[in-house]
């Protein structure tokens, strides 16, 4: 303790030696993740060689030798892709033949749609349930009124001019919004024990719309449905297709809800019953929110599927984006074979949207997953 008790020897550790190169840093990472074992080494090398042989040529075609600016076929001077084609047709690819000076109406609808679909995020808590559902159900109506224009005193734009990518988006959104409640009704009907007739009708509806190809349903809409209406009545092709899409969606959603219903514990019903809630109160206030929560990932996956399936409308000649692209490819001023550019562009746009939606889906899934911490 005193001054003269200074220890004769103090342990001074040597500076630590750096870790062996083989266990840290880039080299070790590569050893662990790329070259662990002969099998993985071969696979790694094969992938590197494969990517290395394809990527430069692709980049060259897409960017380096491509033509970007211009307005006519003559401007495609490069040896690579001719993005001029996409440029010249971009308005139609996105908006169809909607009059140029009225395109703001489509933009408003798209913004509204984004607002309505994201409403659960920005609405204050106490308003969510009531307002959100009202907003959702009102949206298709508002969108149709804006696009059509007659009721608002705007220029009338007939459905023949609706088209392009925004049309795919809107059609998917409104079909989704209307298909969800309808599907819920069907799913409820299917669960009904006291009304066997209603149950069998719902089962038939659900299984029919899930069991047949949507392309066949579109054909029904375009070729058969006109025969179903009384003589002298014509129903717009778009409306017919829309009906088909809503029913198709309802069938798929009913199946999604069925999985959701199975996840609800019986105690929830019993608790609601003991509180004296009626059937509809129980269903709408207790069960529905939980079903939606449980099925959210599947609902979104179904929405993505529906969105991608709107391209099938090409085959019955509805001017959605792929159809617009094909009619552009057939235009006599652009007969140079720009199919790769067109399909690549459409594929890219779809990929961005669908990938974004699956990201959102993952996010919600993680957020709603209250079971795991």
């Amino acid at each position: 303790m005193t001054a003269n008790s200074v220890p004769s020897k103090i342990f001074t550790p040597k500076a630590a030696r750096p870790a062996p190169v083989k266990t840290t840093g880039a080299v070790a990472w590569m050893r662990q993740n790329l070259f662990n074992g002969w099998f993985n080494t071969i696979l790694t090398l094969a992938i590197v060689v494969g990517v290395g042989s394809v990527l430069p040529a692709m980049l060259d075609w897409v960017f380096l030798s491509a033509s970007f600016s211009g307005a006519a076929q003559a401007d495609c001077t490069g040896t690579g892709a001719c993005w001029v084609f996409i440029n010249a047709w971009s308005q139609q690819l996105f908006y169809g033949t909607y009059p140029a000076e009225e395109i703001w109406r489509i933009n408003i609808c798209v913004v509204l749609m984004a607002g309505v679909l994201s409403a659960p995020v920005w609405l204050p808590h106490h308003l969510r349930n009531r307002v959100d559902i009202a907003l959702l159900l009102l949206f298709p109506l508002v969108a149709v009124v804006i696009m059509d224009g007659r009721l608002l005193g705007l220029q009338y734009v007939s459905t023949d001019h609706w088209g392009g990518f925004t049309f795919n988006v809107m059609l998917a959104a409104v079909s989704m919004i209307l298909g969800m409640p309808l599907g819920f009704l069907w799913a409820l009907g299917r669960r009904s024990t006291s009304m066997p007739m209603i149950r069998s009708i719902c089962v038939v509806l659900i299984e029919f719309f899930r069991g047949v190809p949507i392309l066949a349903l579109f054909f029904m809409g375009s070729v058969m449905l006109p025969l179903f209406f009384p003589e002298g009545t014509t129903v717009d092709k778009l409306l017919r297709v829309w009906i088909v899409l809503v029913l198709f969606m309802a069938g798929y959603m009913a199946e999604v809800y069925r999985g959701g219903f199975q996840a609800i514990p019986k105690g929830q019903y019993e608790a609601a019953d003991s509180l004296g809630l009626s059937y509809w109160q129980t269903t709408l206030l207790v069960i529905l929110p939980q079903v939606i929560k449980v099925s959210m990932p599947n609902i979104l996956a179904t929405a993505v599927m529906l969105f991608k399936n709107t391209t099938f409308l090409l085959i019955i000649g509805v001017p959605e984006v792929l159809n617009t692209a094909q009619s552009a490819l057939n235009n006599s001023a652009w007969l140079g074979g720009y199919a790769s550019e067109a399909y690549l562009f459409v594929g890219f746009v779809f990929w961005c949207c669908c990938f974004g939606m699956s990201m959102v889906s993952n996010h919600i899934e993680r957020k709603l997953d209250t079971t795991r911490r």
Binding site: S158, D160, D236, L239, G317, A333
Partner: protein, 337 residues
Amino acid sequence: MLKKTAMLAIGLTAGVSLSAQAGTLEDVQKRGVVSCGVSTGLAGFSQKDEKGQWSGMDVDVCRAVAAAVFGDDTKVQYKPLTAKERFTALQSGEVDILSRNTTWTQSRDTSLGLNFVGVNYYDGQGFMVSKKLGVKSALELDGATVCIQAGTTTELNLADYFRANGLKYTAITFDTSDQTRAAFESGRCDVLTSDQSQLYALRIGLQKPDEAIVLPEVISKEPLGPAVRQGDDVWFNIAKWSLAAMIEAESLGITSKNAADLVASGTPDQKRFLGVEGDFGKNMGISNDWAKNITLKVGNYGESFERNVGQGSPLKIARGLNAQWNQGGILYSWPIR
């Protein structure tokens, strides 16, 4: 519930239209536009440009009818239809006139509840082959693979022709002309068969048009024409004479450029045509300057032809059968008098 009812009401106003059981002409006049069924995209016949403007031989018929009824060729609502939907669309009243590259056949004219009003393009099915094959005639095509653009008569004509000549072949059917062309270009098939007018359009679309030739054989008669619903003679007459006026204008030498001058200085024939003399429009229930309007807005048949498929277009199709009767073709319109 209220919301749903409202929605239904809107849906109905937006999409469902009850055509009154009156005549098509009254319906069209009340609506303010002619609803015209066209092809979803067929070079030279009905195609949309970057701005969404329709043009083509078939489209010009729609414009002519609109010009005759309203004096304004833009009052047309184009309804692109696939081959399968076209007759249903006309029958159900979704379109007032079907101008969609449709072959006039007996069975269609008599059993589908429609009437053809005339022929706006005399076509025939032909073959296109790659020059490298060295084929000069369709009879040398034994064992070939044939790309077909799905039509309604194309497949049958092809099967008949090859069977009649004892030739074997493999057929691949595509939905759109773009797909057919792409398949031909890649070498998937040796031969491409379609209506001749389309063969020229497809040939232009090839990367190397010079390496393909159209064979001389024409294996079928394909008179393409517009059609209207059966049982409405007033409308039938308007459509029929709108088409006839385009052809007649050419034989009278009236063009979109000189029509205005000829009103004062024309021959009696020309003056009758332009509505200066006689009541030819009134007899059909439309204004007397109907034919003048058609010529001014759309042009005569020759102008329409050259602009859409002839020398003024990338297709560069020769007039051939579609020239006037006194110039080697078979176009012969009925006199307006």
